[in-house]
């Protein structure tokens, strides 16, 4: 009798799960599609190749940051310092080029190194120092920004190297290089998170760090790696930002990017409690915010009101996912 009951249960559950599965996986994509349809109806400019290219290029920086943020959030952490890492890494890159006449390659390497290092310190504070991620990365946000400001006297450092500027501004096969970099990063993040042992372990630690530890996962190493990846992506973002503008402005570059990145990840279906989230979800989240901002611009909505719309969309997106 009891086994029969369980059998039935399972079937019912199965059905519900199937619907839930589709919804879980595609509710963000669905939202994105709805948004795109609306946008195309509302503005004739929207569905042009040039505009789509624009949107993609515009989201590429925050998008790349959001990829790293996805790792950290799935792990159950958060990284408020990515915007400041972007500013500091950018400062390193531009300073290397301008003040030390480094080659483009060397300066990029230094910038990436800077990002990875800060990620490492974040990871150490969280694991070794047992400081809540929010506080540790909040402190790092202040510190990294401050170092950049100090170095450049809160001003901008402008580059002269036109080769470097090409990264941010040129096209390959008609696609802007930042978009290509973003695509490559999406692909790599997807592979790492979904196909490798490390990715599995990140989900495991985020899902239940106690169980992960007792299942012979080095929570320490996994955590550090996740923050490291996040620092790295922030540095990649800084390469695009600085090459696009051929300068870094230490006081404004990267300001509030962390919040946009976090919002994208959450809209993409991840949970701040950890253990849940997908790279493709984040990609859709990023695109939703990008399309939203673009269409509001195209429709000439007061820039001051755009925040209201954005806030409401975040709430709506999170509410949609809540049904479980």
């Amino acid at each position: 009798m009891s086994t029969a009951a369980t059998g039935i249960n399972k079937d019912v559950k199965q059905d519900r799960n199937w619907i839930k599965y589709v919804w879980d996986q595609y509710s963000v994509l669905f939202a994105l599609i709805v948004l795109v349809i609306f946008a195309s109806i509302l503005s004739e400019h929207f569905l042009s190749v040039a505009n789509i290219t624009n949107i993609l290029r515009q989201v590429s920086i925050v998008g790349i940051l959001a990829l790293g943020m996805t790792f950290v959030i799935i792990l159950g952490g958060i990284d408020l310092s990515v915007g400041s890492i972007l500013a500091l890494s950018g400062t390193v890159v531009m300073a290397a080029q301008v003040n030390y006449h480094s080659s483009v390659i060397v300066s990029i390497m230094l910038g990436l190194l800077c990002g990875v290092l800060i990620g490492l310190i974040n990871g150490l504070m969280v694991t070794y120092g047992k400081i809540t991620a929010f506080i540790a990365t909040l402190a790092m946000m202040t510190i990294a920004r401050s170092l950049a400001l100090y170095y450049a006297d809160a001003g901008a450092i402008s580059g002269m190297n036109s080769l470097y500027a090409k990264i941010g501004n040129n096209y390959v096969l008609g696609i802007p290089i930042p978009v290509i970099i973003f695509a490559v990063m999406v692909f790599l993040s997807y592979i790492v998170l979904e196909k490798t042992v490390l990715g599995r372990h990140i989900y495991a630690v985020g899902g239940n760090s106690q169980a992960a530890r007792l299942s012979a996962i080095s929570v320490f190493r996994v955590t550090i790696t996740a923050y490291l990846i996040c620092g790295f992506t922030a540095a990649v973002g800084s390469i695009i930002e600085t090459s696009r503008l051929n300068s870094i402005s230490t006081s404004t570059s990267g300001n509030m990017y962390e919040l946009d990145a976090i919002a994208s990840v959450i809209i993409g279906g991840a949970s701040l409690a950890g253990g849940r989230g997908r790279i493709l979800g984040t990609l859709f989240g990023v695109l939703i915010l990008g399309v939203l901002s673009n269409i509001m611009n195209l429709l000439n909505i007061s820039p001051y009101l755009q925040g209201v719309v954005k806030g409401l969309i975040i709430v709506a997106a999170v509410l949609l996912q809540k049904r479980d």
């Binding site: 369980t6 989900y203 007792l214 253990g275």
Partner: protein, 492 residues
């Protein structure tokens, strides 16, 4: 009749927790409810406490039908409950916890600490306990916390007092005190509903007993003339002995030896050894330190003194990773908290300990992984339809099997199983016992920790009994019985 529950049914997402259960209670009586894990005892009580609403059935209190729609209503009707799990606020004082939600007030808004502390003091004195009413809960031991829970329930001046396994974490002395109090309450006309897995307690003050099994009402009997064995048989619904497989007698080499292992405030001077093919049981009351001991062996915690020898060589496991690489598997006692990744799928849960085997250059080979996991869960007869759905949707027994499958997949040579059958129905239990026996037959060693004595007696070749962090004795299965194990476990 004070209380009557008729035809109570309750299901959670189509899991029938209660099915047409009836129960009645007289003023001034102590009424025991027994049943296996998951029989529905707590659920029935939670309905009385206003936490769950029954799907069907009626509750008649003092002759009038009532609807207990919230914890508040329950309190107003004179029902108070000690929950199975501790429900205290760690960073608040004893007094504040006792009066939580019904604080003494001054001027409507202000909390009257003075009077609450005074009342708490006299309340605790009736327990003969020198607990400081101002002490923070987080500074108390589990047993002391339980006393706070009891004091809290008792201070409500209820007419019906429900106790869901109140003695599970109590010392013998404290338990005695509780029984005295129960007698006092009874004589004042308070009715008591008492749930416990320690069947020997029931005879001391319970007047009647109600047995539940698989959410079904079995019977209500007078306590008089009932033996513990009869109660147990009623609970399980069959003779207990046929649950357990035959025991092997021939063992291989020693695989694990622990010498004078000590971890301050948890256990001290623990020495024992385990051989291949052997099933060693650890008995003891809750809080005896068994979990701490095995977690230390497993490298999760570090010992203060003593040594662990693995296959004859001294081993230092700095983390579970080291222990697993050496060949130890550890299924923890709390599968939800420390065993499973509830949001992840079956495949991911099982393959987490053996990612090396199903990956190449750190890349997971999906197909290989699927086949591998498939094979393991077939071995264990786990019933799942969908490998990728989150394991939180599985039934408790199947969840427990996933935990075990994880360790089978890792090719462990020693399995440490902490409460392997907690919350598992009889059928699944039997399968797990058979699996444990099969491990032993394959020349692997097994350490089983369990709070259920019959399980240890039925399963193990040898039982080590712990009390207060020390091994009090070792009993071969040929001589072990409930009495002598219990005697050691209670430190008598």
């Amino acid at each position: 009749m004070l209380l009557e529950m008729k035809g109570i049914s309750k299901s959670f997402f189509k899991v029938n927790a209660l099915n047409q259960v009836q129960f009645n209670l007289n003023a001034g009586e102590a009424h025991a409810i027994v049943g296996e894990n998951g029989a529905g005892k707590s659920t029935l009580m939670k309905i009385l406490a206003g936490i769950h609403q029954p799907d069907d059935g009626e509750i008649i209190l003092r002759g009038k039908p009532v609807t207990i729609s919230s914890t508040n209503v329950s309190k107003r009707l004179g029902i108070s409950i000690i929950h199975q799990e501790l429900n205290l606020i760690p960073h608040m004082s004893v007094a504040e916890n006792i009066f939580l939600g019904r604080e003494h007030r001054k001027g409507g808004f202000f909390s009257d600490f003075g009077s609450m502390v005074r009342e708490t003091k006299s309340l605790l004195e009736s327990f003969d306990l020198q607990l400081d009413p101002n002490a923070l809960i987080s500074s108390l031991s589990i047993g002391e916390q339980q006393i706070v829970e009891i004091a809290k329930a008792m201070s409500m001046q209820a007419e019906i007092l429900i106790m869901d396994e109140p003695t599970a974490v109590l010392e013998e002395k404290e338990a005695q005190k509780l029984f005295e109090l129960i007698h006092q309450f009874k004589s004042k006309g308070v009715a008591i509903i008492y749930i416990s897995h320690r069947l020997n307690e029931l005879k001391r003050f319970c007047d009647r007993i109600t047995v539940l099994r698989d959410g079904q009402f079995v019977t209500t009997l007078s306590m008089e003339g009932l033996t513990e064995r009869e109660i147990a048989n009623l609970m399980v619904g069959r003779e207990l002995s046929d649950l357990y497989p035959d025991k092997r007698q021939r063992f291989g080499d020693e695989i694990l030896r622990v010498e004078r292992l000590t971890r301050k405030r948890n256990f001290e001077d623990v020495s024992f050894s385990v051989r291949r093919g052997e099933i060693v049981g650890f008995a003891g009351l809750i809080g005896a330190g068994r979990t701490e001991l095995v977690r230390t062996i497993f490298g999760d915690w570090q010992p203060d003194a003593g040594a662990v020898y693995w296959k004859g060589k001294k081993a230092t496991f700095r983390s579970p990773l080291d222990a697993v690489q050496a060949g130890i598997g550890f299924a923890t006692e709390d599968r939800k908290r420390t065993g499973l990744f509830l949001d992840l799928g079956v495949t991911q849960n099982v393959s987490v300990t053996c990612s090396g085997k199903v990956s190449k250059w750190s890349f997971i080979r999906r197909k290989l992984e699927r086949q591998f996991v498939e094979q393991k869960i077939n071995e264990l007869n786990v019933k799942v339809h969908k490998r990728t759905g989150p394991v939180k949707n599985l039934s408790g027994g199947n969840q427990q099997k996933i935990v075990l499958a994880k360790w089978i997949a890792s090719d462990s040579e020693l399995f440490i199983l902490d409460e392997p059958t907690r919350g598992i129905d009889v059928g699944a239990r039997k399968e797990i016992y058979e699996m444990i026996s099969r491990f032993a037959a394959e020349g692997k060693a097994v350490i089983v920790i369990s709070s259920e004595l019959p399980e240890l007696l039925g399963l193990c070749n040898r039982i080590l009994v712990m009390h207060h962090g020390k091994i009090k004795g070792e009993l071969d299965h040929t001589v072990a019985n409930e009495q002598n194990v219990m005697a050691l476990a209670t430190g008598l």
